[in-house]
Amino acid sequence: MNRSVYRPIYFIGFAMVFCLGLHSTSFAQTANVFLAGKVIDEKLKTALEGATIHIKGTTHEVISDKKGEFKFITGQRVPVVYIVSYVGYTTREIPVDNYNHVEIRLTESDAKLNDDVVLVGYATQNRKSVVGAITKIKAQETKHIPVASFDAQLQGKAAGVQINTFSGTPGESVKVQVRGTASINASNDPLYVIDGVFVNNNSLATIDLGSKKTSPLADINPADIESIEVLKDASAIAIYGSRGANGVVLVTTKRGEYNSPKTKYTLDVSNGWQKADAGRLWKLTTGPEHATIVNEQWINSGIDRPSLNQTYANRPFRPVSEVINGVPGRGNPEDQQTYDRLSRVFRTAKIKNYDFDVLGGSEKIRYNVGVGYTNQEGILKPARFERSSAKFNFDAKLSRKITFSSSNGVYRSFRQQVRGGAGQQAGHLLAALHHPTYLPIFNADGTPARGSIYENIDNLTNTEITNISTKSLRYIGNQSVEFDIAPGLKFKTSVGMDYNNYHEREFFADQTIIGGAPNPPGYRNDVLTTYTVFQNEQLLSFTKAINKVHNITALLGNSIQEVNVNIVAAKGQGFPNNSFQQISAASVRTSSQSQSKSTLASFFGRLNYNYDNKYFLEASLRADGSSKFGANNRWGYFPAAGFAWRAKQESFLENVKQISELKFRTSVGLAGNQNGINDYASRGLWAGNGQYPDDLVNGQKPGIAPFQLENPNLKWEKTTTYNAGLDLGLFKNRITINLDAYYKYTTDALLYLPVPGSTGYSSSLANAGEVSNKGIELGINSTNIKTSSFEWTTSFNIASNVNRAEKLISPITFEAREYRRTQVGAPLGSFWLYKQLYVDPKTGDAVFDDVDKDGKLTQADRQLLGNLIPKFFGGLTNTLSYKGFDLNILFTYQYGNDVYNFNKYILEGGGTRDASRSILASQLSRWQKPGDITNTPRVTSVGNNYNIEQNSRYLEDGSFVRLKAVTLNYTLPAKLIAKAGLNKVSVYLLGTNLWIATKYTGADPESSGSAGQNLDGLDTATPPQPIGVQAGARISF
C-alpha cells in the first residue's frame, strides 16, 4: 500500500477507479442521447466560438463551434449540470432538466465587480465564506488612467483606502493609506504583495528631486494585473504579522487558462494628451504691480522702524538715474516689464501606450505573455516617464500531483526628472513660479538670465544643459511547486525575488548655477542602487469536509526573507567642456558607498472552520523574527480571530425573497509594523563620516562620530483591530451593500522621540506612543436599470476615519519650521500655526490670537488648526451600457481636510521678499488705507504682518470633488469584425481630471511639495494633476 501511494501513477489509477465506481452507482448506463445548445455573449448577443462545455461529474466535454453551437452525444440523462467556460468570461454552472436546445449566456469576467473568488493571505476563498474585510478591484476598470502606477489608479475605488497623488508628474510617488494613519514615524504604507512576492515600495531615489519621491510601483505595468485585493481588518492582515498593520495590497497578475480552445491575442493601443488646467494655475502680479508693492513695503517699513533708513527717496524702484551709495535705481514701477515663465515650463504632454497580451493553454500547461510600452510626458517640462515591460506567467501540471507555477515580470522604467517642489537652485517649477515677473528671462546680450537664487528656466527645461534622469531595471518573480499529497492536503514551496537596479544620473552644464563658476565647470552625479528582496516560503494546506456540514481548512507555513541594499555613488566636477560627461573626465571626483541588510523569519498558521456554510470561524497566528529589532525583542507574535454568520442560510430568511444575501462578520486581532525604519535602528552606532586633517600638509584622514543611541528594547509597533461588518444583497443582488466599522489601537508606536539636544542627538527611536483610528466604510453597488440592451450600474463608496494620538511622552513636531505637530488628543500631524484673526481696518495690521493673553506673540500662542485627514472620502462610479457602448464615469471626493498653501505663504509675503520671489496677484488686495476690509495685511517688514512663517492665513480647505475619469467604450458589432478574422474590437475615449470643485486657491488640493512622511500637506511649487484625453483601441484575435 505504501509503495502504491507514493508512486503517483498508482495513486492516480486508484483515484480514477474510485471515481468511476462512484459514477457507475449514480447513473445507469444506457443508450446515447443528444444534448445541444449555443453559447453567446450576454451583452453583445454574439456567438462565442471555442467555449468549453463540460458535463459536471463526468470527463465529457465539447467545444462550441463558429456559431457558438455545441452538441453532446452522451449516455447521460437529464438533469445534468453544464460547466461552461470561456477565456476572459466568468465560468457558469447551468442546470439542464430537458433535452431542448439551450442558450447559454456568458458575461465577460472583467465587467463584473464582485468576483466569487477572493484572494486572502496565502490562499483563495469563496467570497461567501470570507470573514475579513477585503475589497477586490478589477484592474481592467482603472488601468487606462494615465498615472503610471496602479496604486494611484485606485483612487475612489476602494472604501477606506485614501489615495492622493502628490504631483502631476508621472511616475512620482502616491500616498496610500488604508484605514487612517496608525504610525507616527514608521511608514504608513500598506504592504504590497505581487504574485506572492513582498515587493519594494520605498522610493530608491537618492538624488535631489525637490523633496519628491519616485514610485517603485510605477515599474509595474497595470495592464499585466488581473485583480487587486485590499485586506483591511485583523482577520485578513494578521497572517502578514509584523508588516500587516497598515493593510495589505495583494496584486494578482494575469494567468493563462487550461484547455483554452484557442490562443487569444489582444492588442491595446492608445494615444493621448494632457495639459494643466489653465484656469487653476497661479496668477502672478505684473512687473509694475510687483515693483509697486515692494516700494510700498520699503516705505512702510521705514516708517515703522526709522533706523532701517528706508524712505521714499531711496526706494528700490526709483529712476535708474538716481544713484544712491553707488547703486542706481531699478526704474520706476511703471517702467517695469512683465515676463511670463509659467508658459515656458508647462506644455501639452503626449501619452502613448501599447499593450500586447497572449493568453492560452492546453490540458497540461497554461501561459500568459504580456508586453507593454508606455511613454508619458509630464506637463512640467522636461518630465517624461517611459516603461517597457515583459510579463511571462506559466503553469505546468508536471503530473496529476505536481504543479509548477512561474510568474515573471521584467520592467525597465526611464524617468526624465524634474525637481518639482522645493529646491532653489534647480527647482523646475520654483524657477518659473517663484521668479519675480519683472526680471527678464534673457540678459541684454541674449544669454539666459538668472534671478538671485533661481536657475534660468530655459536652462532647466533643456536636457542638454540640465539632465536629471533615472533608469530602473526590475525583475519580480516567483517560482513555486505544489504537491497534492493526498486529497485535500497540499504542500507548496516557492522562491520569490524582487530585484531593483536603480540608476540615477544628474548632469548640470557649465552655464548653470550648480555646474557653473565659481564651482569647477560642469557637475555630474551618478548613483547606482541595487535593492534585492529574496524570499523562500513553504505552505502546507489542508481542506476537509466532514459529513458535508463541517468544513475545515488549515494552513501552516514558514518563510524567510532577506533584503539587501547597496548604494554606490560617484560625483564629478570640473569638466573640460560640456561635451565631456563621464566622471572619469572630471578634475574633482568623489565617491561613496553604503550597504545594509535586514532579515525576517516567520512561521504562520490559519484555521478555518465553517458549519454548513452558515457559521464561519477563522483563527490565525504569525510569529515574526526581525533583525531590525533589539536583541531583547526580536520575535513578535500576531494572533487574530474572526467569526461570520450567513444569516441568509437560516430558515427564517429562506423565504424572504427581497434579501438575497445577509452576512455578519466580526474579527479581532493584532498586526505589526516595522516598515520604514532603519535596518539597524536598535543599535548604538558611530558613523565613519567625520574626516578631518591632522595638519595642513597631509589632507583629510578618517574620522568617526556617534550618530545613534542604542535601544536594545526596540520592538514592533502593534495594532489591535476590531472589525464588525455586514454584507447585504437585495433583490437578487441587484443591490449589494458592504458596511464595516472598525477600531484600531496602536501601541508601542515607533517614533523618533524628541530628545534634549544636549544629548548630542536630535532624536532617538523608541516605542513610545499610542494612536487610535476608528471609522466606518460603506460600499454600495447597484444595478439600477437592466434591460436586454441597456444597463446602468452605480458603485458608491464612502469612508470616514477619526484619528487621535492617545499617548505620547511629549508632543512631536516635524521639519525645522514645525508646521505639523502630533500631540495627545489631536489627529497625528495636525497643522500647528499662529491664528490670524483679522486685519485691523484702522491700522492694517494682522491681529493674531494671543492664546496666553501675555500681549506678545510667542510659541505658546500656536494652535492646532486643522489637519490632512478628511472627514470623509470616497468615490462614485456610474456605468451605462447600451448595445456596444459603455460609458464609465468616476468621481472621487474628499471632504474636510486642510492644505497649507505654501506657495501663497512665500508669494504673498507683502513685498518683503523683494527680488527673490514673485508675488501672487492675491497680494493686490492688501490693506492700503484706513477702512479697507481685507484679510491681507499692510505690507511691511516690521512687526508680525509678514514675519510669521506659520500663519493660519495660508491654511486652506482642501476638500474637493473631482471628475477623475470618464471612459466611453464602443465594441464593434461581431458580424463586422468576424470577416476580418478578429474576435473582438473596441475603441475607447478616456478623459481624466476633466473637472474639479474645490475652494482651494492653489493649483491642486492634492499637491504636496514633499512626499515625505509627516512633511506632506504643504503645497510647494508642484505641478497639478493634468486634464487628459486619450483615444485608444483594443483588438482581440
Binding site: 533706523s307 544712491i324 551709495n325 553707488g326 537652485q425 538668472r450 538671485s452 537664487i453 504537491f483 499529497i485 514551496t493 548655477i513 557653473g516 565659481p518 564651482n519 513553504q538 524567510i560 566636477q573 574633482v588 558607498q593 553604503s594 541588510k597 523569519a601 523574527g625 533583525s627 539597524y680 548604538g684 552606532l685 565613519g688 567625520g690 578631518y692 595642513l696 584622514k701 578618517p702 574620522g703 568617526i704 562620530a705 556617534p706 545613534q708 542604542e710 524628541p754 534634549p756 539636544g757 544636549s758 548630542g760 542627538y761 511629549s810 508632543p811 525645522a816 514645525e818 506673540l857 510667542t858 500656536r862 518683503t912 521678499r913 527673490s916 517688514s941 516690521v942 509678514y946 514675519n947
Partner: protein
C-alpha cells in the same frame, strides 16, 4: 507519501535551527557603541570627528548668516521671514535655526566628552603619553570653544562633562549662567593648554591656540589684564604675525586656528557668498567703508562691486577655503582693547596694536589718542572692517554694551537668543530666557 512530507519537515526544522543566526545582521558602514575608542587609531579618528563637527556644524551657514545679519552690515538676498526676525531683533523661540545652533553645539560637545572619558582608559602601547595628552587637550579645547559659543548665543545653557549613554542622563539638569559657562570654558582651556604640545599646527588646536582663545574669553569676561597677558604670550611667538597685504589664505602666519574643508566636506560658508547664487551681500555702508582707502585699505577685497552694481562678498574663494576661527589680527585687537580697558589703561600700547592692524592693510598709523573712549571707538570701528564678513560684530556690540546705540537694538533681553522651544519641549526643566 512519507517522502513528500519529509521535505517540509526538514525545511521547517532547518529554518528553526538557523533563525537566531539568520536574524543577527551586522551593520556594514558603522560600528557599535562599545568598540569605538579603544586604541590609538580609533582615538585619533574620534578627535578628527570632533573637529569635523566644529568645522561643519558649529560654524555652519545658519550661524554665519544669523550673526552677520544681526551685526547689521550684511543683508540677506533670500529675504526669508526669519531673516526679518533676525534684523528686527525679534526672534521667537520656535525659529528653526535656534535649535540648529543648540543641537550642533551639543553634538560637538558629546563627541569631545566621549574622547575625554575614553582616551585615558586606552591601553594600546602605540598610543604614546604625548599623543594621549595632545588628543585629550584637543578635545578639551573643542569643548571649550563649543561652550563658549553656546554661552554667547544663548546665555544660560546646561553644562555636561560626560558623554550621553542614554537620554535620561540629560534630563533635569539646571542651566548655568553665562558667567558660569565662561568659567567652565576657562577651566577647559587651562586644561587644554597644559596638555597640548607647543608645536604649530594651524588647523588643529595646540598650546598657543588654547592661550589665544583664552585671551578672547577673558575679554568677554572683562578680565583685561589676563587677556593682555595671554595675547602677549601668543604674539611673542614669531610663528604668528600679520601678513601683508591683507589676505585670508589658508596656512599663513596670520592663522592661529583655521578650520579645513574638502570636496566632500565643503565649507558651508562658501554657498552664502558664492557669486552665482549668493544668499548674503555686504550692505552699501560696509562696502563703502571697505572701499574707502582711508578706512578699508587692503580689506577692499572683502567687497567688490560687479558690473551690475551688486556687491560681492570675498571671504571664501572656493568651497574648500579655510574658515578662520582665530587670527593674529584679532589678538592685536584683543590686546589693544585689553590695554585700553585695564585698570591702568595703556592707551599708547593700545593705539600701537591698532596701528599694527591698520598698517598691514596699507592705512596710515594713527597718532596718539589721549581719550580712552576714543581709543575704544577706534578699536570697535577697526574690528568692524577687519572682520567685516566674519561673524564677530554682533557679539562685539553686545559685549561692549553698544548694541543699543549702534544697532538700535534697544531691548537688552534680546542680546541673548531664546532657548529653542523644541528643547524646552524635550526637557521641560529648561527655563526660557527672560523676555521671550
Amino acid at each position: 507519501m512519507k517522502k513528500i512530507l519529509i521535505t517540509p519537515i526538514i525545511l521547517f526544522a532547518l529554518s528553526l535551527v538557523s533563525c537566531k543566526k539568520y536574524l543577527e545582521v551586522q551593520p556594514f558602514d558603522s560600528v557599535s557603541d562599545e568598540n569605538t575608542i579603544f586604541d590609538k587609531s580609533s582615538a585619533e579618528s574620534a578627535v578628527r570627528g570632533a573637529y569635523r563637527s566644529l568645522a561643519s556644524n558649529n560654524y555652519g551657514s545658519a550661524f554665519q548668516t544669523t550673526i552677520l545679519l544681526s551685526g547689521g552690515d550684511v543683508k540677506s538676498l533670500n529675504n526669508a521671514q526669519t531673516d526679518l526676525n533676525t534684523i528686527n531683533y525679534d526672534l521667537r523661540s520656535d525659529i528653526a535655526f535656534l535649535s540648529t545652533f543648540w543641537l550642533n553645539g551639543y553634538n560637538t560637545i558629546n563627541r569631545t566628552n566621549h574622547i575625554i572619558e575614553k582616551v585615558p582608559l586606552i591601553t594600546d602601547a602605540n598610543l604614546t603619553a604625548a599623543l594621549r595628552d595632545q588628543l585629550l587637550g584637543e578635545a578639551y579645547f573643542i569643548r571649550a570653544l563649543s561652550y563658549f559659543d553656546l554661552g554667547r548665543l544663548f546665555g544660560n545653557v546646561q553644562i555636561f562633562l560626560a558623554p550621553t549613554k542614554q537620554v535620561a542622563d540629560k534630563f533635569g539638569v539646571k542651566q548655568s549662567s553665562q558667567s558660569q559657562v565662561y568659567d567652565q570654558v576657562i577651566a577647559d582651556l587651562n586644561k587644554a593648554e597644559s596638555l597640548l604640545p607647543a608645536t604649530i599646527v594651524r588647523n588643529r588646536a595646540r598650546k598657543l591656540t588654547a592661550t589665544a582663545l583664552r585671551a578672547r574669553v577673558y575679554l568677554y569676561q572683562k578680565k583685561y589684564a589676563e587677556a593682555e597677558a595671554d595675547a602677549n604670550t601668543v604674539l611673542a611667538n614669531p610663528n604668528y604675525k600679520l601678513v601683508k597685504p591683507f589676505a585670508l589664505a589658508a596656512g599663513t602666519p596670520e592663522s592661529v586656528l583655521e578650520l579645513s574643508y574638502s570636496v566632500d566636506a565643503v565649507n558651508p560658508g562658501y554657498a552664502l557668498w558664492n557669486t552665482s547664487n549668493r544668499a548674503l551681500e555686504p550692505k552699501a555702508v560696509i562696502h563703502n567703508l571697505l572701499n574707502d582707502p582711508t578706512v578699508g585699505g587692503g580689506r577692499k577685497i572683502l567687497s567688490v562691486a560687479n558690473a551690475a552694481g551688486q556687491f560681492i562678498g570675498g571671504i571664501f574663494p572656493t568651497n574648500t577655503a579655510a574658515n578662520y576661527v582665530i587670527r593674529t589680527a584679532e589678538l592685536y585687537l584683543v590686546r589693544a582693547e585689553a590695554r585700553a580697558q585695564k585698570s591702568t589703561p595703556d592707551l599708547t600700547g593700545a593705539v600701537s596694536d591698532l596701528n599694527e592692524v591698520r598698517v598691514r592693510s596699507g592705512l596710515t598709523a594713527i597718532a596718539s589718542v589721549s581719550n580712552k573712549e576714543d581709543v575704544l571707538l577706534l578699536i570697535e570701528n577697526e574690528r568692524r572692517v577687519e572682520f567685516a564678513l566674519e561673524p564677530v560684530r554682533w557679539f562685539d556690540l553686545v559685549r561692549t554694551g553698544r548694541a543699543a546705540t549702534v544697532l538700535n537694538a534697544t531691548n537688552p533681553a534680546k542680546y541673548i537668543f531664546p532657548i529653542p522651544a523644541s528643547e524646552i519641549l524635550a526637557d521641560p526643566s529648561l527655563v526660557q530666557n527672560p523676555g521671550y
